[in-house]
């Protein structure tokens, strides 16, 4: 039973998120709005119900598996990928490296600046 209750809560939040996203034409996908809704709900409730924690953490443990079906879709685009192969490889690697380095540096720096000061 806890799995059913937990899943109902998760799907319920996703459903509300989809309603908001479509209804108000917000460009943010439904599940992300659902995450915000659940977070607000948890903050109001003050704790995570056991049933929800069991289901949610179970899903998150296998998060990587859930990406496989979409990834197999790459096979449909072999033509496009072959045409731009090196461009894709170089762009992916370089740009990911730059993003990682800049984000880590900025966060590290601003965390020390903002949080460090408050801590003193």
């Amino acid at each position: 039973m806890p799995l059913i209750i937990g899943m109902s809560v998760l799907l319920g939040c996703q459903f509300l998120g989809e309603l908001l996203s479509r209804g108000l034409a917000i460009p943010v996908p439904g599940p992300v709005l659902g995450m915000v809704i659940l977070l607000v709900g948890l903050l109001v409730n003050g704790q995570v119900p056991d049933a929800l924690r069991k289901t949610g953490e179970g899903l998150l443990r296998y998060l990587t598996l859930l990406f496989v079906p979409a990834g197999v879709g790459l096979m449909v685009h072999f033509g496009l990928i072959r045409a731009d192969f090196w461009t894709l490889v170089i762009t992916l690697v370089l740009s990911t490296a730059i993003t990682l380095a800049v984000t880590a540096k900025v966060l590290d720096w601003s965390a020390r600046r903002y949080v460090g000061r408050k801590g003193q």
């Binding site: 659902g34 915000v36 659940l38 879709g73 990928i81 993003t99 984000t103 966060l107």
Partner: protein, 242 residues
């Protein structure tokens, strides 16, 4: 007793969702074994190996992607509730998140701007076709969000989903090296960076190798990046003249 001819049996099985669902799970188990056998190398990320195995399987058996997806969609569907479930680790670490709210927002906006601008800049310099380029643009965002964004700005949703996954594994491979090089040790900074640049892959890796705190920050970064990118990306692509 009459035996059904094998080819008839195959026609039935290959069109049935059961086969692709089973194949997906088995491929993932095999891929996890292969990854462990290779010493956990991020270049042989279980997801990438599983995808390669499945593409090989589908090409060999002649099953097309649409037929495969009829079975695999049951797994794909769980991405939605899993995204919602990210609220749980976020809630668990709410105190730390609240304390770091300002730095997080600054880092997130900078990170997104750098990710999109460097992707479009390098891609343009290398002469990528505009369809490819627009499918690349949302690549550091988690796939369900990236597919929506790609469609909105004129890219190809399913290509975007694939590129998102490649970005994820590139990020998992590069992340630890870059953190060592820049001397970043705080697990919450590492987790946030991984979640921003490598979405769900980075989040999963942060949970597994850096602990729940890093995982929560990665989940936060992933969600926040997804939301902000959805708003910012159309503006940035307009700036590049698309």
């Amino acid at each position: 007793m009459n035996l059904v001819p094998l080819d008839q049996l195959w026609v039935y099985l290959s069109g049935n969702p059961l086969l692709s669902l089973l194949a997906t799970l088995i491929a993932f188990v095999l891929a996890t074994r292969i990854n462990r056998w290779l010493g956990g190398s991020p270049f042989a990320h279980p997801v990438l190996v599983a995808i390669a195995l499945l593409i090989g399987f589908l090409l060999l058996t002649g099953i097309d992607y649409a037929t495969y997806f009829q079975g695999a969609q049951f797994i794909h569907f769980l991405l939605g509730p899993a995204t919602v479930a990210l609220a749980i680790p976020l809630f668990d670490h709410r105190e730390r998140v609240r304390r770091m709210l300002m730095p997080i927002l600054v880092a997130c906006v900078t990170g997104i701007a750098v990710a999109v601008a460097s992707t479009l800049g390098i891609g343009l310099m290398m002469g990528a076709q505009s369809e490819t380029l627009l499918s690349l643009a949302p690549r550091s965002v988690t796939s369900p969000i990236a597919m929506g964004i790609a469609e909105q700005i004129g890219g190809i949703p399913s290509l975007a989903a694939g590129l998102v996954l490649l970005t994820g594994s590139v990020g998992c491979a590069l992340g630890p090296m870059i953190f060592r090089w820049l001397d970043i040790k705080d697990p919450s900074v590492q987790g946030f960076t991984m979640g921003l640049a490598a979405h769900g892959f980075g989040t999963a890796q942060s949970f597994a190798s850096l602990g729940a705190m890093a995982g929560a920050f990665a989940g936060l970064a992933m969600g926040l990046t997804g939301m902000l990118t959805a708003f910012l990306l159309p503006l940035i692509t307009a700036l590049f003249g698309f």
